[in-house]
Symmetry: C2
Subunit: 526 residues, 2 copies
Amino acid sequence: MVARLKFYGWGREGEGLDADERAALFRFVADRFGIEARTVEAPREADITLRASRLTAPAALADVLTAEPYERLLHTYGKSFPETVRAFAGDFANAPDLVARPRTEAEVAAVLDFAATAAAAVIPFGAGSSVVGGVEPRVGDTWRGTISLDTRRLDSILEVDRTSRAARIQAGILGPALDAGLKPHSMTLRHFPQSYEYSTLGGWIVTRSGGHYATLATHIDEFVESLRLVSPAGVMETRRLPGSGAGPSPDRLVIGSEGALGIVTEAWMRLQDRPRFRGGAVFGFPDLGAAAVAVRAVAQAGLYPTNLRAIDNAEAGTYGVNAFEETLVILGFESADHPVDAWMARAAELLADHGGRRHADEAAAMRWRTAFIRMPYNRELTVPLGLINDTFETAITWERFDAFHAAILAATNAAIVEATGVAGTVSTRFTHVYPDGPAPYYTFNARGASGPQGAKRRIEQWTHVKAAASDAIIAHGGTITHHHAVGRDHMPWYRQQRPALFATALAGAKAAFDPGGILNPGVLVP
Amino acid sequence: MVARLKFYGWGREGEGLDADERAALFRFVADRFGIEARTVEAPREADITLRASRLTAPAALADVLTAEPYERLLHTYGKSFPETVRAFAGDFANAPDLVARPRTEAEVAAVLDFAATAAAAVIPFGAGSSVVGGVEPRVGDTWRGTISLDTRRLDSILEVDRTSRAARIQAGILGPALDAGLKPHSMTLRHFPQSYEYSTLGGWIVTRSGGHYATLATHIDEFVESLRLVSPAGVMETRRLPGSGAGPSPDRLVIGSEGALGIVTEAWMRLQDRPRFRGGAVFGFPDLGAAAVAVRAVAQAGLYPTNLRAIDNAEAGTYGVNAFEETLVILGFESADHPVDAWMARAAELLADHGGRRHADEAAAMRWRTAFIRMPYNRELTVPLGLINDTFETAITWERFDAFHAAILAATNAAIVEATGVAGTVSTRFTHVYPDGPAPYYTFNARGASGPQGAKRRIEQWTHVKAAASDAIIAHGGTITHHHAVGRDHMPWYRQQRPALFATALAGAKAAFDPGGILNPGVLVP
C-alpha cells in the first residue's frame, strides 16, 4: 500500500527532505534572506471547509466519480508557487465538484457525456505536477460544476514491440512504473523530466514535456509514434508510422493541446535500448556568457551529447556545488550500442578549446543532480517561511541570447525589488541546447510579505515578478514556455506569442473535438 | 539567360539524357518489354489549343498575372506519369486561366484578393515538381476560373544568422540557388530531395519533403525554425524559436498543408555547416529481407549515418549496378566537425555482423547515385514509347515490414498483369530509415497499351495499378505517402488514413485561413 499523494505539496505523504537537506535549505533562506527557519504543520483535511459539491454522480458512474474530500483537495491544485501558498492558506475555493477516476476508455467517454449533460467543465489531471495553473478548476461561473478527470487508473503497458522498439502504453502511467514495465524488455522511454516520479505519460504528451537529456530527442514530441484521444465528439486514433508526409501531422495537433481537445488515453511510444556505455565530465567557465559560446560549439558539432547543461555561477553556488566562482558545464554521453570515447573526446576538446577548465572529478555534477531531483520537495518548507520561489523557462536563438539574458535578469531583479523592497536571487541554467539556441531556465527567490495578510500579498508580489519576467521574455523574442506548458498562468503571454490566425485555427479545430467547449476551459483557447 | 522549364517534362528546354544514358534506358525497355525504341518529338506550344482564359487580370496586377500560352501550359501539370501522358497527348483542358508570378508578399495578397472577388480558385505552384497531382488546376466546375500562383520570383535569401546557423529565405527559391547563396557563409540547408534542382523551399515545406539523407533530420519539418504565410484571412508569422512547449506547434500545422491554408512566402530555416569529413562503404546482402535486419541494427544504434540506403536486387539490377544478384546497402557518414572513423567502424561492423559483404570499392554507390539524379529525365522518353512507369513510397514499422512488403509486391505485380496482360517489374529501396521502421520506395514498370486510344488506356492501366498498390498500403498499415505528398491523386487513400476527427479539425482550421475555400480546392480538405 503506497501512501497518498499530498494535496498541498510534492510527492506522497511522509516523503520530503531529510534532516541534512532541510538544514541546508534553511541555511540558504537564513543566510540570504534573514528568515528564521521554523517548521510549519502541513494543512490538514479536517481543517478545510469545502463548498458542497454542485454535481451528483449518476448511479452508472458511481465507481468512477467521487466527491470524497481528499480527492477534491488533491485535484484542486498543481504544484505551482501560488497554488502552494493558497493550499497552505486553506483556500480550496476552486475545488472540483467531482473527481473522475476512469479505468477504461469507455468510462472516460461516459464521464465526458455526463459532463456535457450536466453543463460541467472537465479538467484533465494526470498526476497534478503542473506548475502553470494547468489543472486548477478555475473556470469562471458559467459552468454548473467542475470535474477533475484523473487518468492514473489507465496505467498499463498494453503491448511491447521489441523489433520496432515501441510500446502501446496507457496515458495515466507514472514515470517509474513505465520504466519498470519496460525494463524486462531491456528498453526504456528514456524520458526523465524533473517531475518524472509524479507525472504521467499523457501529461507529458499534452504539455510537450522536456526530458532530462540536453540534445536530440528530448521533447516528448519526438517519441510519440501514434496516439488515441477521447473527445466529446468521439475517439481519434492515429496510425503507427515511423514517418509520414500525408498532410499536417495529426499527432502534432494533439501534442501540446493541454487537454483542450480531448483526453489522451494511450499512445504508441518510441523506445530506446537501455544505455550500457557512459562518459561524463564537468568543466568550469568564468561566466554563463563564456560557457554559452562553448556549449554552442558542441551543440553545433553533430555529436548529440545526452547532457550538456550549463549552470551559472549563482545557481551552482545556491546548490552548494562551488563557491559562486564559476559556471559549470556538465557534459555526458550515453549509448546502448558502443563506447562513447570518440564522442566524449571531441566534445571535451571543443569545451577546452573554448576556455573550459576540466574538473578532476565529476562530484559537482552528482551533487547538482541530487539537489535537482529533490528540489520539488523544498516548496512545502519555504512557502510557510514566506519565501517567494519560482522558476520559469524559455528558448531563444543563440545570436540573441546575450541581450535576451541580460534583459530577463534585469527585469526579474528589478521586479523583485519593486514587489518586495529587497533584492532577491536570480540564477540560470541551460536545460536543453539546440543547434540554433539554448533553453535557459531561471530560478528566483525573494523575501515575501509576512503577517496576517502575508499569503495574499505574497501572491501579489509573485504575480508582479512573474509578469515582469514574462513581459521581458515576449518582448525579447523568447517563448513563454519551453516545456512547462501554458496552463492558465501563461495565457496572457501565450496570447501575445501565438499568431492571431493560429488562434482562430486552433479554435476551429477545438470546435471539432469539443463542440461544447467543456474541456479545460480557459486553457489555450480562446 | 537560362532556358525555360519544359511544360511537358523534367528540367529546362534542351536538357535531358545524354546519348549513353538514352541508349541504356532504351536497352532496358527493349530487353524487358520488347518495346522498340524511337524518338518522339516533344509537344509543341503551337500545336496545342488552349481554352480562352475565363479571367481578366485587373490593371493593377498587369505585371503579376499573365495569360501567356507558355505560362498556362507550364502551370497545367506537375511531373507525374498520367500528367506527362496527357501532356504528350496534347490534353491541356485544365490549364489555368491566369498565372500569377508575384514579386512581393503584397502582390501575393493582391492575387488572393483578386481571386476571391473573381470567384477563382488559386493553385499554389513552386517549380511544378509534384508527382501526385498537387498543382493541376483540376477543381471542378464551381469556380469561375483558376489561377496558378507561381512563387519563383520570391527567390532571395533575406538574412543570414551565422551564430544560430539559420537564414530567412523566400519560399520561391530553387535548391541550387539556395545552396549557392549560403555557400559564402560556409553553410548549407543540406536538404537534397531528388527534385532539388527544380523544386522550391516553399514547396518542400508544404509537402513535407524528404531529403537525401537517411536518418535524423531528413524531412524538411525539422529544419523550419519559423515561417510566414499569406492567406485570404491575412498574414501569419511564427516566432523564431529553437524549441517551444507553448501549445501545439503553429509551424507543424502549416508544414504539409499543401497550399490549402495559405502561401508560404518565407521561412527561417535551420542550417548546417558544410561537411568536410566523409566516410562511405557499400555492402551486399542476399535479399532485401536480410538487408532490412542489418539496416535496422544500424538505425537503432544511435549512430545517425547520413546514408543508409538499401537497394533491392531488382532495383540494383535495373540501374546497372550489378547483375540482380544482391541487395546493396550504401552506408555513409558526413561531418563538418570531426573525422567519422569511429562512426563508420561501428556501423560497418554492425552491417558485417548481420551478414553484409563489404564491397572493395564504392563505385556501385556512385553509379546508382548518378542514375538516381538523372531519373526524372527518363519520363519524356518512356511515355511516348508506351511504357508505364511510376514510383510510390510509404513508411511502416519494422515488425510489420516483411508481411507489408510481400503484400505490396503481390498487389502491385498482380495489378500490372490485370491491367496490361503481361508482367512488369517492381523494385524497392529504402530511402529513409528510422529507429522504428523504414520508408520503402517502390518503382514499377509495365508495358502499356499502344494505338490510337493508347494514352487514355495507359492512364486507366496506371490508375488500376496505382489503386491496387495504394489499397495494399492502407490495408497493411502504411502511410499513403512518406514524402511525395497527398495532392489530388492520393486523396481517396488519405481520406482512409486520416482520422475522421482530424479531418473535421483540419477543415475547421482551413475555415480560419481560407474562409472562401479558394486555396487548392480538393487537396487535403474536405
